[in-house]
């Protein structure tokens, strides 16, 4: 690229106040299929978008990224059309760019702090990251970096979600013998069983898993740790010296309202697991059944609710409602998912809250009684608290109800490990580098923080990998281990 060209590009980039839009399937079409919604940038679009970045010296965007990707550097490489270099920069700190580019809540993280967002839209950092990762995938097998020579230490990673996978990859690079144990028959955690194909194609998860296999990570599926082995047995009989627990937030919360056990009422976990992991959306080829009503209501306002609603549409529901007790601005879901849901025809019923589910004589859902809400004083989280409006009850006719109000920590492993301290909600207690109350046992991700994000779980996996390295091969000794009350 000539200097002249660079100048022109820079000028043009500065003038563009909006992100280059990403081509996607038309709403009417995609609302009935499970293929990925956005097609991703072409190389041309990516370069054009990349030139919107002004390469800030202090790069505020980086502070917004939990794994501190060198954002200006990777975007710079795209400007110069050095796509491989761009991937290399990203991969220095983020092992799963194809995933993060798609599912990170960018508007709350990197893009929130981008200076271009002060006037107009921020640089589409997520889309560019996705582009770089997808470009690499198109080139064939990913480059497998040289790992350090085996150091003789054996580490177990429990739970194969994004946190566990990140931790496993980092440790393998450092020369550890790493074994990942997963309760399900497949890798990925929520990336596999929760987030639907149309948002995160499963071949991306397969590709990342394959990459880790090439790094020498051993995967063991169908292993419910706690039941099949206790940590103590793994230490004594299998010779594991350190552990990373990344078992996630897999305990569905219900609303505890009348009628919640009627037929046609699902937890989002059940609904999505049937559809995603067990592929119930393809009944001609897979045996696991699922069911969706003509009129389906989803309660909740997060990504889980959006995923459930959009899956229900794709499974054939005529009308899909999202019932949420606050307003649009307060929904915790990613902006893009909310927009996509709305375009696809999901009917948002805001400032309403279900108070009872009504059933017919055969035990199936036939309606949901809701109450209207208004926003009152801000609560502890700073969001205005929704308060019910007395006497505003009404009934919404539905035949399927999906509860997507959140998940707690799955107690199975903590229950089987009494020395492992948990807080009053059941989350494993861990310090800032992931150390738990048992020496040699680290934990991170949703099981520690409560339901959070993919990138935060990956950040925790990364920090714990460093901690484990320090513990087994560095300065940290058993006596340094913190005491937990």
């Amino acid at each position: 690229m000539t200097e002249e060209e660079r100048k022109r590009r820079k000028r043009e980039g500065l003038q563009l106040l909006e992100k280059i839009s990403m081509p996607e399937q038309e709403p009417e079409v995609r609302a009935r299929n499970f293929k990925e919604v956005p097609h991703g940038y072409t190389a041309e679009m990516a370069v054009e978008e990349a030139w919107r970045c002004i390469q800030c010296k202090n790069s505020p965007c980086v502070q917004g990224c939990p794994v501190e990707i060198d954002i200006p550097a990777f975007i710079r490489a795209i400007q110069e059309e050095n796509f491989q270099e761009s991937v290399d920069v990203i991969k220095r700190t983020n092992a799963l760019p194809a995933v993060c580019g798609r599912v990170c809540p960018q508007e709350e993280q990197c893009e929130k702090l981008c200076v271009r967002g002060k006037k107009g839209m921020p640089v589409a950092i997520g889309r560019l990251e996705r582009f770089a990762a997808d470009w690499e995938a198109e080139q064939g097998e990913a480059k497998v970096p040289e790992t350090a020579p085996p150091n003789g230490h054996k580490v177990a990673v429990i739970g194969c979600g994004p946190g566990g996978m990140t931790c496993a990859g980092d440790l393998a690079l450092l020369g550890y013998e790493v074994h990942v144990y997963e309760a399900f028959h497949a890798s990925g955690g929520v990336l596999r069983y929760g987030i639907p194909e149309f948002r995160l194609p499963k071949d991306i998860v397969d590709r990342e898993t394959h990459y880790l296999e090439q790094l020498g990570v051993h995967f063991h599926y169908n292993m419910v740790i706690g039941n099949v082995w206790t940590l103590e047995e793994m230490r004594e009989e299998e010779g594991f010296e350190a552990f990373y627990i990344g078992t996630g937030a897999g305990l569905p919360w219900f609303m505890k309202i009348e009628g919640e056990n009627l037929n046609g009422v699902y937890s989002a976990n059940e609904f999505l697991t049937r559809a995603n992991l067990m592929r119930a959306y393809d009944p001609d080829n897979y045996d696991t059944p699922t069911w969706v009503g003509e009129n389906t209501a989803v309660v909740g306002g997060g990504n889980v609710a959006m995923d459930s609603a959009r899956t229900a549409l794709r499974l054939g529901a005529e009308n899909v409602y999202i019932v949420y007790r606050r307003s649009w601005e307060q929904m915790p879901a990613r902006d893009e998912e909310m927009e996509h849901a709305r375009e696809e025809g999901v009917d948002f019923r805001l400032l309403q809250n279900p108070i009872a589910i009504l059933g017919d004589e055969k035990g199936w859902v036939k309606g949901v009684k809701c109450i209207k809400m208004e926003l009152g004083e801000p609560d502890a989280s700073g969001r205005r608290r929704p308060v019910p409006i007395e006497g505003s009850e009404f009934v919404l006719d539905i035949d399927c109800f999906i509860v997507a109000i959140g998940n707690g920590p799955n107690p199975l492993l903590p229950d089987a490990t009494p020395e492992l301290k948990v807080n009053k909600w059941g989350n494993i207690t861990a310090d800032e580098i992931g150390r738990t109350s048992i020496p040699g046992v680290f934990a991170g991700g949703d099981i520690v923080t409560g339901a959070a994000t993919v990138i935060e779980a990956m950040g925790a996996g990364k920090i714990a990998a460093r901690g484990i390295h320090d513990y087994l091969d560095g300065d940290m000794s058993e006596t340094d281990w913190p005491a937990f009350e």
Binding site: H185, Y221, N227, L251, F254, N261
Partner: protein, 279 residues
Amino acid sequence: MFEIVSTEELGPRIKRFEIKAPLVARKIKPGQFIMLRIDDNGERIPLTMVDHDAEAGTVTIIFEEVGKTTIQLGKLKTGDELLDFIGPLGAYHDMTGGEHGRVIGVGGGIGNAPLLPKVSEFHEQGLEVTGIIGARSKEILILEDEIKAACDTLHICTDDGSHGHHGFVSDVLKQLLDESTDYDFVLAIGPPIMMKVCRDLVKPYGVPCYVSLNTIMVDGTGMCGSCRVSVGDEVKFACVDGPEMRGEEIDFEEMMARQRRYVDEEQCALERYLKEVGE
């Protein structure tokens, strides 16, 4: 992959398989279950452990061919392999609490399979075990000899009178309790309706009654809530809080309604499968 090391037909549409699964075999206890998936297109189904051999590394299951997955399973032969075999799942309950006493074990239909390891355990622990087992008719009554070996007294019932007492297991249970209520507990395993009848019957005698719930499951690890049941004011997950539970407060009507959630879809899967295999 998990190899099937032996197969045996116990009755029409009822089979016993021994599966090589050393890690499961080492740990699994009476009352716990496994989930299996035959192949990548299959669903995960729960089956109770009937026997296990830690040394040989095998787990025995017994199943009735009732739908797509169990019929497909029944076609497999010694030497074939299962794709997934997950366990142990469910809670282990030591019902005796180390006390030596008298108990009644009731089994109905395929429920006699999960009953066997329980009564065997009670017997080994030195309890006095009275067994009541039943089935629709003699030819589908399974495990009579094995259960007999674990019981001090065994009563047999068939709905059609082709063997033992002509009538239901609950008739015999009532008789026994009328004679004496000096039992530490009753354990009843079988179809939900049978467990409900037994539970209702036992209640007025003031004897604790345990049951084993066979709700519809997806993961079996407490992650989805498909298996939830109302127990008094609480909601419990059969896969982690159970499957064995105290029966007094279980809402069986709700549970039975929930079992019918997928009848149409299951029927479709079965028809599609039978067409595929030309039956």
